[in-house]
Symmetry: C2
């Protein structure tokens, strides 16, 4: 394969892995992944050591788009309170989409049940970065305990997306009042 | 098989399904389940239509023990606020156990990604019953909006157990202050 063809094959595999894993779970077979990508198993194994590596790479590749959709741009002129609330508006918006199945980085860790799996490590880091975002905003917003507020917001984020993902809640009228209450209690005005 | 032998086989299968699914996920194979239960596949299929039915029955069977561990006895003389906080103390305690992997009824729904699966239906009902418990306590505790508080507490419950289950948080110093803040905001003293 030329470098360009390899790149195309790689991208198709990453897309198929991200899409099918999100829809069907980490148990998705190599055959199904290769079929969806239109790639032979031989080609797949020339590019990735294993399905585990493909899965980790597919999560990694989606991260920047995920973060860009979810988090406000740095220094957008809004207050930390507004910026935090904006993240939860995005969660509520995403939860309204018909194919929403919750946060992919939470789901993959719950499904794999193996913290040392390469995909779990990628997902763990993405979630830690989100908590880091909340912590910085909490500090800048003058929270009485920025670490506690960051953990609370991460908990609400994961609880909300998990419950919406399984159809236990729509999040409408739930997330904004919950986050507002926590921000108020932490003194972030 | 005698009725007694059938009953024993059935219970071993239910136990194996509950234990292995919680530890390894819903992708666990029929071979592994039967091996762990010390039961032939033929015997399994005489008792259960399919692995899906076995999984649903294993969740159903565990429900009463799960509820008994988690929820306070009715009319135990404590206030609704104390009874609600007690549930979250149980979650924090469970989260400290080495083999804790989060709420089994949340995990199975996230893993199956199929709301019509018999096991998803069982799990959905168990979670709906927990929200019902919170709603009744919220009403009795004079919450300004019992429905909102019940949804908030369910969200915290699932967020907390999911995050502890994947090792993203220990819950120490997190759950009690969060629930207390929500109870205070709802006027449940």
């Amino acid at each position: 394969m030329t470098t360009e063809a390899k790149q195309g094959t790689r991208e198709r595999l990453l897309d198929a892995a991200a899409t099918l894993t999100y829809r069907d779970g980490v148990g998705i077979g190599v055959e199904a992944l290769c079929k969806a990508a239109g790639v032979s198993k031989r080609s797949m194994y020339q590019l990735f050591e294993s399905k585990d590596d493909l899965l980790a790479a597919s999560l990694e590749q989606r991260t920047s788009a995920y973060v860009a959709t979810l988090l406000p741009a740095p220094d957008d002129g809004r207050t930390p309170r507004e910026r935090i609330l904006d993240v939860f508006e995005q969660v509520e918006r995403q939860a309204g989409e018909p194919d929403f199945r919750g946060c992919p980085y939470l789901a993959v860790q719950i499904e794999l049940k193996d913290r040392s799996h390469p995909a779990s490590r990628v997902a763990h880091q993405v979630k830690a970065n989100l908590t880091g975002f909340f912590r910085r905003e909490a500090e800048q917003g003058g929270a009485s305990d920025p670490e506690l507020l960051a953990r609370q917001l991460s908990l609400v984020f994961d609880g909300a997306s998990a419950r919406a993902g399984i159809g236990a809640d729509t999040l409408t009228g739930l997330v904004a009042p919950t986050v507002t209450t926590l921000l108020d209690a932490a003194g972030v005005r």
